[in-house]
Subunit: 345 residues, 4 copies
């Protein structure tokens, strides 16, 4: 397997390097960057000193197509939509970490991302890479649309409920919180230390681009689902997402039943850990790992279900899930390179 | 005015000292502590070096009653319920920062706090000290039940809506987040640095003791209100609370109308700042101050209202509001000692 | 007194606004900005909502000279050197928070700041505004060169020793640590949250521009002083500086003698707090205040003195000391507007 | 290899579990705790859910001796000194992460740790487990005294200089900074979140128990070394140590020569990374890894050398180095289980 990473100087790209370094089936990967070609990756990321001494290479589709079997696109939205079709034509598989191929409908992308969409005929080739949901299709995919970080946490948390329990669809609220690394490695006053530290803020109210991705995916669980309320907050921490999910079941349901339902759903998914009764996951408990941990409860007093779903946004929410999908495509152990336990404390 | 503070070694007590130090109408205050009597307050809190050289005194109700006009109870729940009746009998006014006098019904206290309640006849004398709601009653009160931190943020954020707009009461969700100082100055593994830093967690799911306080107070806005869903999360920061509040109006309502309603409600309340259209407050923007900042929006796409309400939990959520109430009781400018702008960054 | 602030959108400028808002002798101040003219200060800093509704004005020296008695220059280095001479000619006093007027010798500025210096004849008019050292000269100054943050902590910590105790000048080491706000409000990858959080780094090794300022000032205590070793580190926090200072006395000296010497030196300086035996200040203990706290010890085992000096870099290290100097110039109580105790926790 | 861990509920113990989980030569390890016997490790550390479902067992030396080849002691000081002699007698090898066997001279231990020392005849059997220094002796050791976190960073940073360069031994200053996890998992007001966050403090001035360990080890490089000045600070972060080391060479020396000397020294030590000219390591660049990164410079202007040495205190400073030593004892690849790159950001 010859692997290429485009956008290696972003946080998602650096995390791919870290994971592939521990991947027993990938011995070679090459790093590409449009902005920092000729720079050593260890100059951009000194923590990689002696781990990778590669120089970043500039992007040349034809050249890369000859030397790569799979390309990871760890790029901002808008780039992959342009580059990917040529790679596919050249017979190179693509795992896209951006939002460019996540939607069936190009209009949805253009409405929420405010950019031109990739062509519909290429969108149709993409498989949505939420591994636990689409494992079979991923096996034979040539183009993976790797899910967004919030949709990963949210859909893994909510899908089993919507599929199996009659809930009042009008009551679904997703109150999501994220660390700052989701914003990428950028010079920006809003994500500078002094503006984030000892501060908690809400952002992109009513308009986060992950909303339509969540809706599209959850409709596979219940096609009656309408628009959902999803808000995002910025937590003064680097990594981690928590989605606190609320909804009302149409009938009373016991916590025990709920947990069994979730455990059954994720019985064969080693990276989803349904936590025991009365235990709710904290983000640090999946830090540095590919796990998604889920806690669930039913409040007898109010009739509300609360689901708590946490991931490391850079791993299960980006690079880790991308490698998990690569493993599925290769037909090898899905967890290869991803077995490191969470780093705590 | 001779002022006494019981529980001066907690964070709420230390914040009272900081505020009273800047209070032009209070020249003297005396500090009491059951656990650290004879210790200098500046040994417990070196930041107060040269600001207060007082030694903490042990609690003696008769002695204190002779020397005090008002007593602040900055104590854990359960203490004030025992001490306060004697102070009142001795003609001393009490401002209680704990939860001991916040409920009309002693059973509610005993159910949620799992402790014996203060006697019903003393509860009846207490005025709930959410200044903006109860200013007139506070003027003549002899016992103030200073509100909890979460209820302050939540009620100020939700009251005007419930009072003025027809909402689906079954859809109200309050997803609250707090810094760690709300847990007090205690030795506790759960609030130790390594367990909190770079971590975000949910806690006391379905069972936070502030739930009944919020319900009791919001019922004054709409008596049909039933049990509400209220969840609390711990943010890796010291100070600050955000309540993200969701509910559905029964009819469509414009954001402009909502804002005007809130502005009207808080027109004469200098410590409530209704933020302009499209602007949502972050917790750091009230850090170190007595402000409660509120943002509000209506999402046309989903039909949900989102209200964002933030306070500094130690100030508007505790010591600041206590002094604000003292000022109202004294008939002086409500903001005396509280005019320091937020400390940013 | 009519006061103008140039550079009000930086952190130092915002802190001036916060302090002047609490200043009983200044009822009016006007805000200027070259980059954000016409923007409301509360749009740039929402924490100032309702506190100041001023629009930032563009800089016009003639206009400003008519309407101002004193101008604070809260600008990056290089700006004040250009603007200040005209203000002085127009009879306006200037308090410069940048490094432009701190050196007697223009060559030193040009070597370390790598910029053209202000003219020597204007430099000669400047009084170095370390209040505790130069109070008498400040009274009649027309141009104050407000000290840098590191020099303030370092010089207050080391001056009494160098002046009064025979030390081996070749052994002086200053190992300094700072929060991130010293870098200003700028979009910069190096000071973005994810690069700073849970990280501790050294920076500008051997070349920090505050080195010559420290040397020039300490030579007033002991003219034999040669080049000193001064290194700076970035702490994952917003505010605060600690200088850990090491040197060897030529003779043994008791800790008690050292403390008495420091207490005597700062007897009349309310903003310097010499901490008691065995107590060393932490940065949070001066957070949000104008204090400089100093701890000092002599290690019998090794013969080294350690001095620990802490300030809030934005207050005693910038805006607070600037107002302290203004107060001295006005002949009013030096602490006016600066009496707020540290904000802890 | 049958491995036992005593003290598995501390941070060092949990980190051992994380590392051994990735260790290809260790398939079994058993966890012991005096305080939490019968508790599942995943109840104490939920991040280990599904990774280890072991219940903690109570300590029984005879039982353990039958079932273990090596015991890791991840215990507070004072415990290993009592337990270890019996394990050794029973033919079980011990790797002790505490300070109990680090000194040749029991008096030194008793002076600095203020506890009874292990018997001198057992001390004599211990090999000091700074892998890079003592690899040959470790191979055949039966008892490893795993180094302290500060000594690891300091000695790796300073040893090559003292061994190879004539320096003025009276000028050595070690100004060390650590994250909070070094204090262990304990309920303690001093390490609670609100006391540490946004705060920087110095602690154990003149009296840190790692001082004699550093002195004893550095004397192997230069036997003339006298008492050294070593101070420690607490950084608001969880993991990471930086030692900033100062000293003056007796003759001028070029930065290039210094670097070559260090590179030569660590040529075969994969976990020590000597950084290139002008680059200084930050703690996050070794976070979650077993690396020690070193930067070094000579300041022509002042004649001082500065060495910057960083480690992750829980890995190279504790559990990682312990496993590195185990690997050396086993005669397998020294890096087994330790190849995970640093986790950044």
């Amino acid at each position: 397997m010859r692997v290429a990473i485009i956008g290696a100087t972003g946080y998602g790209g650096a995390e791919l390097v870290r994971i592939l370094h521990q991947h027993t089936a990938i011995s070679e990967y090459t790093l590409y960057s449009s902005s920092q070609a000729e720079v050593a990756i260890s100059d951009s990321y000194p923590h990689l000193t002696t781990i990778s001494n590669q120089k970043l290479q500039s992007i040349n589709i034809e050249e890369m197509s000859k030397n790569s079997d799979v390309v990871f696109m760890a790029t901002p939205s808008g780039i992959s939509g342009e580059l990917t079709p040529s790679f596919l034509e050249n017979g190179v598989k693509v795992i896209d970490l951006s939002g460019d191929f996540r939607f069936n409908d190009p209009d949805v992308y253009e409405t929420w991302y405010k950019k031109a969409s990739a062509p519909r005929e290429v969108l149709e080739k993409a498989v949505y890479g939420l591994t636990e949901l689409n494992r079979e299709q991923i096996k034979n995919a040539r183009l993976i649309a790797n899910p967004g970080c919030y949709p990963t946490a949210t859909v893994l948390g909510l899908f089993p409920l919507l599929k199996n329990v009659a809930v009042d669809l009008d009551t679904i609220i997703i109150d999501a919180k994220s660390g700052v690394s989701g914003a990428g490695r950028k010079a920006n006053i809003g994500t500078s230390y002094c503006e984030i530290n000892e501060n908690f803020r809400i952002y992109k109210v009513n308009e986060h681009q992950h909303i339509p991705e969540i809706e599209q995916t959850l409709k596979l669980a219940n096609s009656n689902l309408g628009p959902i309320k999803f808000n995002t907050h910025l937590v003064p921490m680097t990594r981690g997402i928590m989605a606190t999910i609320y909804c009302k079941p149409l009938c009373k349901i016991s916590e025990k039943t709920l947990r069994e339902l979730y455990q059954h759903q994720y019985d064969n998914d080693r990276f989803v850990r349904v936590r025991k009764m009365g235990e709710y996951p904290a983000t640090k408990e999946v830090y540095g790992s590919n796990y998604c941990d889920i806690g669930i409860t039913f409040d007898e007093r109010t009739g509300w279900i609360t689901i708590v779903s946490v991931i490391d946004n850079l791993i299960k929410g980006a690079a880790g899930q991308a490698v998990q999908n690569l493993n599925v495509m290769l037909g090898i152990d899905e967890g290869t390179g991803l077995y490191g336990p969470p780093v705590f404390p």
